[in-house]
Symmetry: C2
Subunit: 227 residues, 2 copies
DNA sequence: AAAATAGTGTCTCTGAGACATTATGCG
DNA sequence: CGCATAATGTCTCAGAGACACTATTTT
């Protein structure tokens, strides 16, 4: 078999959060060519010495940009072709992360010129993105919307402790429709991925809601039925 | 940012079929080091001149090994780390294909020493595989089993024209449980991804079943509920 | 007509969704 | 006590599954 030059490969991470009731994605302004000055997904090269595997490389990128270490992250999809980068045939391992927006207030303020949250409108952001990053963002949003229907994934958009009404609002915001409280709570109860944080309640001028957290060791839960 | 050597990347395809009532995977015996003599997934390098994108590269690999051009294929997952290949940090774009076993009788006979179907037991094959290919096969089988529960995917394991009883048998074989005929047919009808091939019936010594084919332009259909 | 399998109809009972009611905190 | 929201209970109706029945071909 003939030898072929291996294409240049990178890691890119679509970091999504919910801020002010809207889905937002973390973007960085590029300093170097190609696409200098354009907004792009945080990403970089694999560091073979440092990164045990692809997931570790993505975690390193996430931590470098957000300071967050253990949010929800999974491989989204690989994208590779001869057009996405003017330098030639390249490929990227795209990852998909969900973070609680208040978990990273500091980082954002520190470098506001270069890193920013952009609101998702539909499946896009209202600025042209470098490379094929618009397509990658769209794929991530599709994945989120689809998985929200039948998984516990939105819990990762909230801080470690949250109430069931909080969680329901997240589902409603992402799906864009109201849900029945009773049915929602039944579904969460039978999915059994939450545990009450006893003794702690959220202060309010009305009946306070029970706080919950995700049970340790629980990955994303798949519901039997759509939510 | 420092420059890093891009890791070596390859394409590997998990080609699954149903033969003699068992799920089987196409493997090749490696001629070259590393792992010379071991069984491995069909795969290869990206050919930047030839392959428009990753999917095209995977399709080229599939066609080269099976002679089949348009089966079901989708990206499975990327795998990359410093251990899977003794030569160093490498990554592979793993694809996942389903073919009708009778669509490729010729190819198999032509080179029986080097290419063979191996039966899947559990999620494995009963021989050690090169690289981390055992893990990739397991991931493909998991994906198939999970998607079978709520998609039209098993239809791609059958020849272009097939009957509903045929299709039900495929679901039953993969899931390992019997299904109710009436419920199954209702589900297929409402999913609306099949169309009858009028005038053609399968000969038998009893009432012949209606032949169907997958409607053109239909990708994989996701059912509202699990099957 | 018998055999064998394809294909459809019916009945029941679960469980999801809509809605109502009760609970619990604060002022 | 009134208000606001949390949390739970109740009722109804659709639909999934179990099973029975009818249809269509060959021998």
């Amino acid at each position: 078999m003939a030898e072929f030059l291996s294409p240049l490969v990178t890691i890119d991470v679509v970091i999504l959060t919910l801020r002010e009731g809207h889905l937002q994605v973390l973007l960085m302004r590029r300093g170097a060519e190609p696409f200098a000055g354009s907004w792009a997904l945080p990403g970089g090269y694999i560091h073979p010495e440092e990164d045990a595997d692809l997931d570790a490389a993505a975690r390193r990128v996430l931590h470098a940009k957000t300071g967050v270490r253990t949010p929800f992250m999974e491989q989204l999809q690989a994208f590779g072709d001869g057009q996405r980068d003017p330098r030639g045939w390249t490929a990227t391992f795209a990852y998909f992360a969900l973070v609680a927006s208040d978990a990273m207030v500091l980082k954002e303020g520190a470098n506001a010129e270069e890193v920013a949250w952009w609101q998702i409108k539909g499946k896009q952001v209202e600025t042209p993105l470098a490379f094929d990053h618009a397509r990658i963002v769209a794929a991530a949003v599709s994945r989120l919307r689809s998985k929200v229907e039948y998984t516990s994934l939105p819990a990762h958009l909230l801080p470690p402790k949250f109430t069931l009404p909080d969680l329901q609002k997240v589902y409603e915001q992402i799906l864009g429709r109201q849900m029945d409280k009773s049915a929602f709570r039944k579904r969460m109860a039978e999915a059994a991925f939450l545990e009450p944080v006893t003794g702690e309640k959220r202060p309010a001028s009305n009946r306070p809601a029970q706080l919950y957290r995700i049970k340790r060791g629980r990955g994303t839960i798949f519901f039997d039925r759509t939510i």
